[in-house]
Symmetry: C2
Subunit: 157 residues, 2 copies
């Protein structure tokens, strides 16, 4: 397999940008993720791949639940603030407002979010795949979603 | 959970459009799929969800391999031709040109494709999730990919 062809082909897959948060005991996580897809209508399932050597992986696995925040097309800066490790300071997480809801960190600036319960984890790659059931969904405002291809970033290859 | 909120939120997830093909013994399949994501860099893995009551599901599961064709932004009609069951007629599949490559049906009109080998299947939903390793990738021409949101169609909720 030609490595450059693999990279080019895999970067043709389309993604949005999302912020995943969770909390397990005293450990919080909040991370920008792109490898997300619905996986079933009935029951409503999604898949999310989380970097295996990240704090988010350990926290989500420990808790078995997470929030997936859906971002508007103008929220690139919000997405960027969660590229770095999660830091709680002055009542903010990575400088962003949040509140605890059912003991999960909910970012308040987003147009929509879904709450998910982990059903299964496939550990075969460097980004373990979490299959999770959608157990709640909230819309704050209808919004055009942020798409990875419209940013300067890519994640894939 | 409010059903309309769930539908609206899940439709905010971003997708491309792809055509998945495979062949098991004498059975061919070719289907348009949207629920696709990379799932690992090393090894290179992708996830694809396939409708559980479809012929494609049975064929891909039987064969353990498939081709995922990446489409250009002008190939909406090609995508639409694989919404219906797969029919071989007059040397075409659903009216489209193909050739067998390693005994898998390769559509010749696409800008790129990847060949995948199935590693695992999660059967918890109505669209079983196939985790597969990318074992080959070919670029025919650089192209802007077809995105689901830019069509009149949606698939999710």
């Amino acid at each position: 397999m030609d490595e450059q062809s693999r990279k080019t082909a895999l970067r043709m897959i389309s993604y949005g940008m999302y912020i995943l948060t969770s909390k397990f005991e005293d450990d919080y996580c909040a991370a920008t993720v792109t490898w997300v897809s619905q996986a079933s209508f009935d029951p409503p399932l999604i898949s999310v791949c989380i970097k295996g050597d990240s704090a988010s992986y350990a926290v989500v696995k420990g808790r078995g639940e997470f929030l997936l925040h859906l971002l508007g097309e103008d929220q690139k800066d919000l997405a960027a603030s969660f590229f770095k490790p999660s830091i709680l300071d002055n009542g903010l997480i990575n400088g962003q407002k949040y509140q605890l809801q059912d003991d999960l960190p909910l970012l308040t600036a987003v147009p929509a979010y879904i709450k998910c319960r982990v059903l299964d984890i496939l550990e075969k790659g460097d980004h373990p795949l979490f299959l999770a059931e959608v157990i709640d969904a909230v819309i704050n405002e209808e919004s055009i979603p942020l798409e990875l291809r419209k940013t300067d970033w890519s994640y894939g290859g």
